[in-house]
Amino acid sequence: MEDSVIEMLNIRKEFPGIVANNNITLQVKQGEIHALLGENGAGKSTLMNVLFGLYQPEKGEIRVNGKKVNITDPNVANDLGIGMVHQHFMLVDTFTVTQNIILGKEPKKYGMIDIKKAEKKVAELSERYGLKVDPSAKIRDISVGMQQRVEILKTLYRGAEVLILDEPTAVLTPQEIKELVEILKSLIKEGISIILITHKLKEIMEVCDRCTVIRKGEGIGTVNVSETSTDQLAELMVGREINFTTEKSEANPKEKVLSITDLRVKDNRNIEMVKGLNLDVKAGEIVGIAGVDGNGQSELIEAITGLTKTESGSVLLNDKDITNFSPRKVTESGVSHIPQDRHKFGLVLDFPIGENMVLQTYYKQPYSKNGILSYKNIYQKANELINEYDVRVASEFTHARSLSGGNQQKAIIGREVDRSPDLLIAAQPTRGLDVGAIEFIHQKLIEERDKGRAVLLISFELDEIMNVSDRIAVMFDGQIVANLKPTETNERELGLLMAGSKKEKVGEQ
């Protein structure tokens, strides 16, 4: 490979008990977009952390521009021109774009920060790569898509020639994704090389030149994207054939289970986030809430599940008023909740997976009697759920922390579905999961629907909303702005509705 900027040859990285990377080779050519594809837990992040200097490999070597290097920490990576944009942005909300970009590498004049010079440089960079960022805007005032561009600028400012993007499209609207694609293309024109970590096959087909596939820590190989198909990539990644369109029969909605009227909820900053929302979910249907993150979805779920108090309005479950019930009473009324943030809410990571399986039911028989826990019954139940929901874990005594994201999610879904709720709320149930796990989770949601349960799905992924829902409610600025059937709409229309514009500027882009 004469023109490779990055070569990672036969990398091996072990952690106690597991080999995270075994003999993986990744060669990135100058000026290409190179996809790194793999299921969750396949070892993508480990490999990138090795490249970024956070981990030291046991075996193998890394070459940058043909020269063997020893990347001992992220500063070394920076000096070598390697920059990383993490999935979760690392920006200071109250700082301006420029202040964020120069943070840690401030241009100085007489010992003071030369903000004028910095702004000029940021504007220059932004211009050159077509990023269109306002250097003096505050981070909290700009959109998520813009924030991502700031992250990209941050790495460019530090002289990055190789950009690692970790799941960059996860938080973007379809329109923003299109813009990002344009930006990536203009970056490679300027000679920047890009490594794109993703498990979205469509994106790979659209923008990438080549793709390296990792499966269970093993390098499977590198393919030219022009010579492959999504089906082939999926098979390489998972090792078996994958069913993309979710099979499901026509919904058969029955009586109203959830009925929300004129709901108003404030967030913890005391800003009204849900502004007079109305929504019904019937038994036997999946209602998908489409919307860009931050339009009140989290507050809506928290209000239904009792985690936040409502300002006004009512939440009825089977015609019973459950407004402002405590979380326990909501649960006992027949609501299950697959939370958006499984680490923060869904699991006690330092508990064994077995104890996590009774998080809401530990005080009931047979898991305890007269306040004394019955570990025998708890672990027996846990074992049942682990088997039934195919949670891959060494044993029921393993701490939840050491499970992969997909298996943690399967465990949560098992626990929530097993309570046979009337209403199942699934918030971002497949976030960050690989296609195999996504398939499994979608099937489970549809199974629950077919058992006559009401399912409320909240997702930022339009594909998921389109595939799984029987009815789509578009949420914008704290209200449901449209009710649509998935068969009668398309991503473009949804995208525009989610952005708040109904008819205007349809011709743009």
Partner: protein
């Protein structure tokens, strides 16, 4: 699982050994023989029945304060207030012990209960402030330590006595001391309290590991968000944990009041029983069994060290340094472990 358990046992053992080693180096560099120093330490703790009895006497309150701090830790709270809770517990026990007249089977339990309630109240204040207003428990407990110190002194001087520096002796019927133990241990101040300490350790173990209350405490300690999501009342658990924690520390005070001394002097400074409890809890990994073992180590060091100046000529200042070093390594092992876990989390 196995590696985790190994880790939990290895870290404290290594830190104690490192502390002893560092102490040895200090002694060497000042021209003292560390081997004879440590032999003197050993003899001072276990050399004869008297020393043995005194060691056990010192271990007793450490078990209580260690358990108190550990219990709060398990629910995610840092109870620095064990010191103050010891003082109010001590005073409450002595108050009942000196003023009430009742047969022993009522008087002694009543005095012990009073100590528990006083400590529990002292824990309830930071608990409710944390649960309702989000005030950090560390700040409140530190301030309550001073309030406890000066109010107990004031009560001793102007309520229980007329401007004297100690209370009266408690009556026999409220005492934990026993003649046969004193005779057996060459008139050491060892008392029945050690049995109560071990009993409470078993109860705490049972409460944390075997009951739904303990399940909630642990869940809240690890992840408040998930606990709230699961329908637990986080605020109630915080208050409960602080009340129990304070109560146990209060019992530690009762050991001093009803066992060791039989009265309460006005204190010019803190007893350090509560503060040492923090180190005991950390060294014991916040488990009941670990706390009992760690309390024995601390008691041994404290009592054994008294013999080092006479037994090996090591000046008492140096002994303090050696003990501080051991505590330092114990505490830094906690820091090291915490940093390792942090790194592990962030690396993911």
């Amino acid at each position: 699982m196995f590696t985790n358990r190994m880790f939990n046992i290895l870290v404290p053992v290594i830190s104690v050994l490192l502390g002893l080693l560092a102490g040895a180096i200090i002694m060497l560099s000042f021209g003292y023989n560390p081997i004879s120093g440590y032999i003197a330490l050993w003899n001072g703790a276990f050399g004869d029945w008297y020393f043995f009895g005194e060691t056990i006497r010192q271990v007793t309150p450490y078990i209580f304060t260690g358990l108190a701090v550990a219990f709060a830790f398990r629910s995610g709270l840092f109870n620095i207030g064990a010191e103050g809770q010891v003082l109010v517990g001590w005073l409450a026990a002595v108050w009942i012990g000196t003023t009430v007249d009742a047969p022993m089977f009522i008087h002694l339990p009543l005095a012990i209960l009073a100590a528990f309630l006083a400590g529990a109240f002292w824990g309830f204040i930071p608990g409710i402030l944390k649960a309702k207003l989000g005030v950090h428990e560390v700040i409140v407990t530190i301030m309550l330590n001073y309030i406890a110190l000066y109010s107990t002194n004031a009560i001793i001087r102007s309520v229980l006595t007329d401007r004297e520096d100690t209370t009266d002796k408690i009556s026999e019927s409220a005492s934990l001391s026993a003649d046969w133990i004193m005779q057996l241990t060459a008139y050491s101040r060892m008392h029945y309290g050690i049995l109560l300490a071990l009993l409470v350790a078993v109860l705490i173990w049972f409460l944390i590991d075997k009951t739904t209350l303990g399940y909630e405490i642990r869940s809240v300690g690890y992840n408040q968000h998930a606990s709230r999501y699961a329908g637990m009342n986080v605020g109630k658990n915080i208050i409960f944990a602080m009340v129990i924690s304070g109560g146990i520390a209060g019992l530690g005070g009762a050991m001093e009041g009803l066992g060791t001394f039989g009265y309460m002097p006005a204190h010019s400074g803190f007893t350090n029983i509560g503060f040492d409890g923090i180190a005991v809890a950390l060294l014991g990994g916040n488990t009941a069994l670990g706390v009992v073992i760690a309390a024995f180590l601390f008691g041994t060091l404290k009592i054994g060290a008294l013999n080092m100046p006479t037994g090996a000529g090591v000046p008492s200042e140096l002994v303090e340094i050696v003990i501080a070093l051991i505590i330092f390594f114990v505490a830094s092992s906690f820091v090291i472990r915490w940093m390792l876990l942090r790194l592990k989390k962030e690396g993911k």
